[in-house]
């Protein structure tokens, strides 16, 4: 679901085909019949943005027919834990959970807590990788192992999805009952002791105002069916860039330090205050040792200058206090609050939602540095942006100073990428860059050198972190040796000067330095483990000697769950790791994801904490309570359970609740970012169709790495819009003729592709037409075209601030779009006809009544 794997990850898809050859049943759920659908056993057409209703229906089906893997669920998930008495569900509050504050559009999550345990109210992205802290989690949480208590998670879950019946799935998603039940049958029949089912998603799930909850919904189904931590099971997030996994682990993200440690926040005066927010004093699992990870990072950052006496330099770190995400920053550029912008290997002018907003931001900078292989629209916007045609940007009036620095290609530098299954693979350097082409490693090293020179004699305390920054990497010529950087990321035992073996070697006393605890082991024994290349035909099915997978070269996370409560594989067919009573340790085909000598029946003493507090049946070793979370008592800001909300822009009134859309979604009302109206507040008549988008095999993202290549440009030369024959008739569209797609933001023209790959959906008598476009074009390259992303507005998931770009509303009209000033006037007329103001779409609460007596909100 949410993935067209055959098209977007074709070489990975060979494994799905292998599985199919071995008897696996492949089901594809997607708004459009795609290359993946063509190879699946069953294709299910779904309305874009209704995945939670579909998955909630699966949960309902599983629970109402007792099809869950009960032994697994009772022991390995939080099904038995009791929830706070004050908790009220969306069933009680018309689509809201208890604790909603209409003034801030956010939840006080106190009432979602486990009974007797206390979590602290958390802001989005506050707690990092290990999930939120739960005070008291190590001591055991009130529970009912029979799963009968009305407030136990299992029963709460059952009630929450009680109305997600096959009939409701049909009304919401447009999926016929029989098709839906066939999916349920396949999924449940292929789960349990002997069989497992895998779930695959891509940005078709994440790019929604309910993105995080889409994934939560998938996780709930997979936990109920016992498909997590077991071979052939799992949830696969297929990522779209060569190192997008790595750039999240070793992040270039505002809210994270390396290893998913959260960025310090305003008000965290010292290291202790920071750690108190990150983990609880008496919780379970490896995240309890976050102090060792953070202190080791500070030792890598500041070297000898980081000491116990100065909190290891914690005070030198900048603090965040809100949304500093890419869209917020873009708007701050338009408002003149950001002066300079460094962009490397990314092309926001055509690659981010609301392209005009992006380009107006670029045009209001003092300076812009773009590092890329080729001249991209983000660097040349001042002369070729569509706004030049409309007169909104004119070179002679645009003050942005632009530096374009040519980058070295992946073949011209050594370094590592982390692929979509967390495997770090080293690339050798094969060729030399020419002219001014340089690696980014060179760039940052040279920038550091120059900055350091300029602040060398400063007495300003704000320059201290720059002066104390440890930057003594081994160099080759005028740039750092990337292997030495990876070695420091792995971590060094400062008492011996040798690399540490793994993250369990890291200490909080300043005797280890480590750039990213999660990658500890990638340079074990002073060897670049990511460079290992033992051919697959010379090793076993898990190929442990090809590259290196975080953490600890473990290929399957939570694999303790592949064994039963006694530590034996659930079945011989599905064995992976198990407890060896003779050796007194866990062993198996993969690196066990559990304290190696903790036996399956272990019951820790009451005062234990951290990894030592894990019971023998706590497979989720990063969670504060050791369990897989069917119900998220904290940490997910828009609810402890996924709930169907309509997309921010939708022609459909929510059939389940009067709360139309996610009540916590981030809206950004401003003139450059108007929204199409949706019920109940507005009439969708002007923009009546559902718009969605995805990739083509032959292009990559916004096209910066593909539109310029003759082979790829020839294979997919032109932007198209796919419509059903019904919609083509309705709008007078001709196959291969021109049409323009319009939203409140933009009009984008494309060639019409009339195909029965698209089909209208019938929901409660309402016919919903869906429209699909690829998003790879822009004004430069061998093949050019309008940019799909111009059509989108910016509205985001409150958990992770990802924009909703997989669903919006639109109209499709025959012929080419207006140009220049006519285009501006045309869009103005449309907005006026649709009654769009800056307030349109920004009313978050539509539940019809406020929750009674919302509890007082604790300041985050």
């Amino acid at each position: 679901m949410g993935s067209n794997m055959a098209e977007a990850h074709p070489v990975g898809f060979q494994w799905v085909m292998e599985a199919k050859k071995n008897g696996a049943r492949v089901v594809h759920v997607d708004p459009r019949f795609t290359r993946t659908s063509a190879l699946a056993d069953q294709y299910v057409r779904i309305r874009a943005g209704t995945d939670i209703a579909f998955l909630g229906g699966v949960v309902h089906h599983v629970l109402s027919n007792d099809l869950d893997f009960r032994e697994y669920v009772a022991a390995y998930t939080n099904a038995a834990f009791l929830v706070n008495e004050g908790f009220a569900d969306t069933e009680d509050l018309d689509g809201l959970f208890s604790g909603y504050d209409p003034a801030t559009g956010s939840y006080d999550t106190t009432t979602w807590d486990y009974e007797g345990a206390s979590q602290r109210v958390t802001a989005p992205m506050e707690t990092g990788m290990g999930g939120p802290p739960i005070e008291g989690a190590a001591g055991g949480i009130a529970q009912d192992p029979t799963l009968q208590h009305p407030r136990c998670v299992f029963q709460v879950l059952k009630r929450h999805f009680s109305r997600y019946t096959p009939e409701m799935v049909e009304r919401v998603c447009g999926v016929p009952r029989e098709q839906f039940l066939q999916v349920c049958d396949d999924w449940t029949a292929n789960s349990g002791r002997e069989r497992t089912a895998a779930l695959i998603y891509s940005v078709g799930w994440t790019q929604h105002t309910v993105g995080a909850q889409n994934i939560r919904a998938g996780a709930i189904v997979q936990l109920l069916l016992g498909n997590i931590g077991r071979p052939g099971g799992g949830i696969y997030a297929l990522r779209g860039h060569a190192n997008i996994q790595g750039s999240t682990d070793i992040p270039t993200l505002f809210d994270l330090l390396p290893g998913y440690l959260p960025m310090p926040r305003a008000g965290q005066a010292d290291l202790t205050a920071y750690l108190d927010r990150v983990r609880a004093r008496n919780q379970k699992g490896y995240w309890e040792e976050a102090d060792a990870y953070l202190v080791s990072l500070l030792k890598e950052y500041f070297g000898d200058a980081a000491t116990a006496d100065n909190d290891f330099g914690f005070g030198w770190l900048p603090r965040i206090n809100g949304d500093h995400g890419t869209y917020r920053t873009t708007m701050d550029m338009i408002d003149g609050r950001v002066f300079g912008y460094l962009v490397m290997g990314q092309n926001p002018a055509v690659g981010s939602a609301n392209g005009r907003l992006q380009r107006l931001a670029l045009a209001n900078l003092d300076w812009l540095v773009v590092r890329d292989l080729t001249m991209i629209e983000t660097a040349s916007f001042w002369k070729d942006a569509p706004e030049v045609e409309t007169g909104e940007i004119a070179p002679e009036r645009c003050r942005t100073e632009v530096f374009f620095l040519p980058a070295a290609a992946h073949t011209e530098k050594a370094g590592s990428f982390t692929q979509t299954q967390r495997m770090v693979q080293w690339r050798e350097k094969g060729a030399e860059p020419v002219g001014d082409q340089r690696s980014d490693l060179w760039f940052f090293h040279q920038l550091w050198r120059r900055v350091r020179e300029r602040v060398a004699d400063s007495t300003d305390p704000r320059d201290e972190p720059l002066q104390r920054l440890a930057w003594d990497y081994r160099t080759e010529g005028d740039e750092p040796d990337p292997q030495d950087v990876l070695r420091r990321i792995n971590g060094i035992d400062l008492t011996t000067g040798r690399t540490v073996d793994g993250f369990t070697d890291l200490r909080s006393d300043g005797t280890t330095a480590c750039g990213c605890w999660q990658y500890s082991g990638v340079y074990k024994d002073e060897v670049n483990q990511a460079a290992r290349r033992k051919p697959h035909d010379q090793q076993g099915p898990y190929d442990p000697e090809w590259g290196w997978t975080w953490p600890a070269n473990r290929r399957l996370l939570y694999n303790r769950a592949s064994a039963d409560l006694d530590g034996r594989p659930w079945s011989e067919r599905k064995e992976l790791v198990w407890w060896d009573p003779d050796q007194g340790r866990w062993t198996g085909h993969d690196v066990p994801d559990f304290p190696l000598t903790t036996p399956p029946g272990f019951d820790p003493p009451a005062d234990a904490r951290g990894p030592a507090a894990l019971r023998g049946d706590d497979p989720f070793t990063m969670q504060a309570d050791g369990k897989g979370w069917l119900f998220a008592p904290t940490g997910v800001v828009d609810g402890p359970l996924p709930t169907h909300y309509e997309p921010h822009e939708s022609p459909v009134r929510n059939p389940l609740y009067r709360q139309q859309s996610n009540p916590t979604r981030r809206v950004y009302p401003r003139p450059e970012n108007p929204y199409d109206p949706s019920p109940p507040e507005g009439d969708p008549d002007v923009f009546p169709f559902v718009l969605t988008a995805s990739r083509l095999t032959e292009h990559h993202t916004a096209g910066g790495m593909s539109r310029q290549l003759p082979h790829l440009a020839e294979l997919q030369p032109e932007l198209t819009v796919e419509v059903s024959p019904e919609l083509a008739r309705l709008r007078g569209l001709t196959h291969l003729g021109w049409a323009h797609v319009v939203t409140a933001r933009a009009a984008v023209e494309a060639r019409v592709y009339v195909t029965d790959r698209m089909a209208p959906l019938r929901l409660d008598g309402q016919v919903v037409h869906q429209v699909w476009m690829p998003f790879h074009w822009g004004p430069t390259g061998l093949v050019t075209g309008d940019s799909f992303n111009d059509l989108l507005g910016v509205v985001a998931d409150a958990n992770v601030l990802i924009q909703e770009s997989k669903v919006a509303t639109c109209d499709v009209r025959p012929g080419r779009r207006p140009r220049g000033a006519e285009l501006t006037a045309f869009l103005e007329r449309l907005r006026s006809r649709a009654g769009i103001t800056s307030a349109t779409g920004t009313t978050l609460l539509t539940a019809g009544r406020s929750p009674t007596n919302p509890p007082p909100r604790e300041a985050p």
């Binding site: 070489v11 297929l238 603090r319």
Partner: protein, 196 residues
Amino acid sequence: MSGNPIERRLRGWLDAWPVYRQLTGPDRLGRGAAAQSPRSAALRPHTDTPGPPARSVCPYCAVGCAQLVYADAGRAVQIEGDPDSPVSRGRLCPKGSASLQLVTGPQREQEVRYRAPYATEWADLPLDTAMDMIADRVLDARRRGWQDTDDQGNVLRRTTGLAGLGGATTDNEENYLFKKLWTALGAVQIENQARI
């Protein structure tokens, strides 16, 4: 060499004629030596390079297909899938297969391009000068956007004067130094494709 110059020329002319070679030589079906021209006889595989190929990884999506990069005199001449890889077993998709064009095509910029404020065209700029100018501007933007504390007096110790974007197409080691330098500068606005 036998025969006189005229015979030799005639023989040379006949030998250059594929039909003659096909009729008189061992390649009766004309699929091999008979059909060869001097040009095709001199052709070598792209993979016939002086050293072993570099073991690399495809730069497009995140499947992580292994590539073998064949180079001659510092320039990539062929990129193929690596059959040893447990991920890709030697396969590449159309993008991965086109990556030689990505790294060697004429679209690659080789020199710094500079556009002064209000300029209507690009200009040249030496790389060193560009780096000096960028360093000056980074520190200036940092200073102008500096924030010591928030409204409640909590320490912020940061700047919002500059922002960085990118990471999903660059290496772990590069991203590590990007975040490290940005953090030391006090710059909090750093984002990449993972956010979108």
